[in-house]
């Protein structure tokens, strides 16, 4: 199985969830209030609009499904700040 981690600015979260829903992803996890730095500069919170904070979305699924998600999120990341990386995991259930 593959683990996809998407770090994206908070206002992009809804769009990511819409993609996951469209691709019928069975499960995902969200960590809010992720700060950071990237090509678009510092995101260190400290404002009331949440524009300067990121979220981390974790998705573990079949490689094929992950690829479909990656393709769509790639498109999304043209408009939203963020990064995305994939690694191998073994799922235990």
């Amino acid at each position: 199985m593959k683990k996809l981690e998407i770090i994206i600015e908070t206002i992009g979260l809804n769009s990511v969830i819409r993609i996951l829903e469209k691709q019928n992803i069975s499960g995902y996890s969200i960590i809010e209030r992720v700060l950071g730095k990237g090509s678009s500069g510092l995101r260190q919170g400290g404002e009331l609009s949440n524009v300067m904070k990121n979220v981390l979305v974790i998705i573990v699924d079949e490689p094929d499904k992950i690829n479909l998600v990656v393709k769509e999120v790639k498109q999304l990341l043209k408009d939203f700040s963020g990064v995305m990386f994939i690694s191998d995991v073994e799922v235990e259930n």
Binding site: E9, I11, G46, E47, L48, S49, N50, M52, D79, F80
Partner: protein, 327 residues
């Protein structure tokens, strides 16, 4: 002139303003004073409820005259012309690119609730009344500038065939049903409906400690503003001056317009303050969504760390004198 001095000094010696300055300085000194964001968000809700309720209850008492309709028209007008003027100042005079000009324009056309609350507290301290419906004017002025700015960008960019990215649904939802508008109008309705009886019930929480709680809130706002000081350099000299002169220009326009429609001095000050203030909660979220190529460092730093402190500390008494002059 002398009056301006007196009002300015009295404003500068009010605990609210002083705590704002303290928060600003403390954060600049890199003091580790942490601002629990949850508290700031909770206080923001408190103030919206408090002024909304009070506005509604006041309307229930004094009724509404025709001036409300003229005022609403003025509110929409101000919210529509300020971003256009701002755009031209930014793009033509400041040579700022079209996207960032539109983005910043949206912020200066929209409003800042905390600046409005501080102006209400200022009016209270000099015992000048204002009308309850002015809270509604604030709600009305929150969104038009955002729509106008997006429209401007589309017009400007129409030749470039820029890939259009208008999130109609999210934009309208976010602009018409956003937190502060719903809560403001809702609180006004509740205040109107529950009237003076309701006022009695809530006033030990929404009226009596209002100014005291405002000191705590402004301390936190000062800290948030001070935190961005590091990004001043990124903003540059032109945008810095824009951030302290555009409010005055917008204020003059509002002072004149509100005088023409015959409002009293208190209401005129509030219109002036609304026009002079720049949004740092609603507009950033909307603009980030609609204009991802615009640099959020610019608009957040300018509205939160330059214009907001300027208005709070110097602007309000200056605008008051201005309104007094124009008559």
């Amino acid at each position: 002139m002398q009056e301006l001095l007196i009002n300015s000094l009295s404003n500068l010696s009010s605990p609210m303003i002083l705590f704002f300055i303290l928060g600003f300085i403390a954060t600049m000194l890199k003091s580790d004073l942490e601002i629990p964001e949850a508290i700031a968000k909770g206080l923001a809700i408190y103030f919206i409820m408090a002024i909304g309720f009070k506005g509604g209850a006041e309307i229930a008492k004094s009724g509404l005259t025709n001036v409300v309709i003229t005022s609403a028209i003025i509110a929409i007008l101000l919210g529509s012309i300020i971003p256009v003027i701002s755009y031209f100042v930014l793009n033509k005079i400041g040579k700022i690119d079209a996207i960032n000009s539109c983005a910043i324009a949206a912020h200066y056309g929209s409003i800042s609730v905390v600046t409005f609350v501080t102006a209400i507290s200022f009016l209270g301290s000099i015992e000048v009344p204002y009308s309850g419906f002015m809270v509604g004017m604030m709600a009305i002025m929150e969104s038009p500038a955002i729509f106008i700015s997006i429209l401007m960008l589309r017009i400007v960019k129409r030749k470039e065939n820029v890939e259009s990215r208008l999130h109609y649904k999210e934009l309208i939802k976010g602009s018409l049903f956003n937190a502060s508008i719903v809560l403001l109008f809702g609180s006004m309705l509740i205040g109107y409906y529950s009237g003076s009886e309701g006022m009695e019930i809530v006033s030990p929480f929404f009226v009596t400690p209002f100014n005291g709680i405002l000191t705590l809130f402004l301390l936190e706002m000062g800290m948030l503003a001070g935190k961005r000081i590091g990004e001043f350099k990124a903003v540059g000299i032109f945008l810095f001056f824009f951030g302290i002169s555009m409010p005055v220009i917008n204020g003059v326009i509002a002072a004149v317009l509100s005088f023409i429609i015959g409002l009293d001095i208190g209401d005129r000050l509030l219109f002036t303050v609304l026009s002079a203030s720049a949004s740092y909660i609603v507009a950033p979220a909307a603009i980030r969504l609609e204009m991802p190529q615009a640099n959020p460092s610019y608009y957040i730093t300018m509205s939160l760390a330059i214009t907001f402190p300027f208005n709070i500390i110097f602007g309000i008494p200056v605008y008051y004198s201005l309104c007094n002059l124009i008559q």
